[in-house]
């Protein structure tokens, strides 16, 4: 049983790292058609060609194969044992070795890891996943695992910020547009997808941001998401900062519970041109 779970997890991780989602592929094709800047069009076409090559050859979309992040949904009729958790961990390591992932785990104690002075582990499977996020599922009989791969560029440009909303939604949206515009202008790998969570704490906002990456759809955008995308694109940074209409392909926004307070916590990640790299399976 554990071996079967590990095998499925490894396959799911490889799918996340080598394959565009269908709606993501469609988003690129539509962007190519509507892009008016020739440099930008060339970049979009090259990224799409890369996605097709990666999928055909099962090779990584990007050599920064990312840090695995895991979101688990569990219904009330299912249980999640330590053995299943261990099988998921083993599957992630196996998937990283097989894809192959980039060997980028640092060796050594805390100081050596911070200074990058203890050397790099040559085993791609030594790149440990971030702590798992587990949440209740709406369905009773479900145990669903989502695997995401987080690259380094968006980690540099992502932010978590407290926003004093003045009881006005437009204040929050204005701040998001400001933060996103700054991140997008400096992110090397655009067009990006803006993943945003708004919660009551830094942890909750970032958990919601991760949910936005999992549940967000390129072909289903609400008015707020459309507004954010449109306003950030208006600056004209374009793919790779070369100018153009498509700095952002879409916005995935998740608004959670809020507290009676003057502050909202916003977590925003400008996902790179290959992200969100996410694939899911049910166990």
């Amino acid at each position: 049983m554990s071996k079967e779970i590990s095998k499925k997890i490894a396959e799911t991780l490889i799918k996340a790292g080598t394959t565009f989602r269908a709606d993501q592929m469609d988003a690129y094709e539509k962007a190519i058609v509507s892009e008016t800047n020739e440099r930008a069009k060339w970049v979009l076409e090259t990224i799409l060609e890369n996605a097709k090559v990666a999928q055909d050859t099962a090779s990584p979309l990007c050599d920064d194969t990312g840090i695995p992040h895991v979101l688990i949904e569990i219904g009330k009729d299912r249980c999640l044992s330590g053995a299943v958790m261990a099988a998921i961990q083993e599957g992630i390591a196996a998937g990283l070795r097989a894809m192959p992932g980039r060997p980028m785990a640092l060796r050594g104690d805390a100081i050596q890891r911070l200074e990058q002075s203890g050397g790099i582990d040559g085993d791609a499977g030594a790149v440990l996943p971030a702590p798992f996020l587990i949440k209740s599922a709406d369905e009773n009989d479900v145990l669903r695992v989502h695997i995401l791969l987080y690259g380094g560029g968006p980690a540099i440009r992502g932010q978590v910020k407290s926003v004093f909303h003045k009881h006005c939604m437009s204040v929050v949206i204005d701040e998001i547009v400001t933060l996103a515009s700054e991140g997008v202008s400096k992110l090397g790998c655009t067009p990006c997808t803006l993943s945003i969570g708004i919660g009551r704490s830094q942890f909750e906002a970032t958990a919601l941001m991760m949910e936005a990456q999992v549940y967000g759809k390129y072909d289903i955008q609400n008015d707020l998401e459309k507004e954010i995308t449109s306003r950030v694109n208006a600056a004209g940074h374009g793919p790779l900062g070369l100018g153009g209409d498509h700095s952002v392909l879409a916005t995935f926004l998740r608004v959670g519970s809020q507290r009676a307070s003057g502050v909202r916590i916003v977590s925003i990640r400008p996902d790179c041109c290959f992200e969100p790299r996410v694939a899911s399976l049910e166990l």
């Binding site: 060339w42 090259t46 920064d64 040559g122 202008s185 090397g188 790179c272």
Partner: protein
């Protein structure tokens, strides 16, 4: 499309304009945050020849090299961008990476007949264009060691040349 073969002459570089598409062939160096400061120190210590490294007319690709392939990292990281001008003084003519670089760097490159080109981070495609690779220095850095690659047709766009940049358009 302008075809460039490394080592690249000053004349070829001086003919490039912001926005030109270039296709790069030949032997280039790949290195990033960890190794570029060390490469500059080697140059200052006149030890490049000890490692059979020649930067005259050279190309530096801001990339790690691993079993996952190659692909540009952000060139505006502190330890990369701050070493672009020193490396240009040592003869590097073409820096390939991604992301916006600062005005001081853009001017410094121009002063030393060097340009910056942006390449899409398309690792599946780029990796298929690398026909040889070897570590030439700092193997302890693993994927961040200094590599020499032989590439066949990397396509990039000139983003900074002659003191101008695509980011100022």
């Amino acid at each position: 499309m302008k075809v460039l073969s490394a080592p690249i002459s000053k004349k070829d570089i001086d003919e490039l304009e912001v926005g030109d598409l270039i296709e790069v062939h030949g032997y280039i160096y790949a290195g990033r945050d960890s190794v570029l400061p060390k490469l500059v120190r080697l140059g200052h210590d006149n030890r490049l020849g000890d490692l059979n490294i020649s930067l005259e007319g050279g190309v530096v690709f801001h990339s790690a090299v691993s079993i996952a392939g190659v692909g540009p990292t952000s060139s505006n990281k502190l330890e990369i961008e701050s070493n672009m001008v020193p490396l240009s003084k040592m003869g590097v003519r073409l820096h390939i990476g991604k992301g916006a670089i600062g005005d001081d760097t853009i001017r410094g490159l121009a002063d030393h007949h060097a340009v910056f080109a942006i390449i899409p981070p398309v690792s599946a495609l780029l990796t298929s264009l690398v026909v040889e690779k070897e570590i030439v220095a700092f193997p302890e850095e693993g994927m961040e060691a200094l590599f020499r690659l032989k590439v066949h047709g990397f396509t990039a766009i000139v983003a900074a040349a002659k003191g101008k940049s695509i980011f100022q358009d």
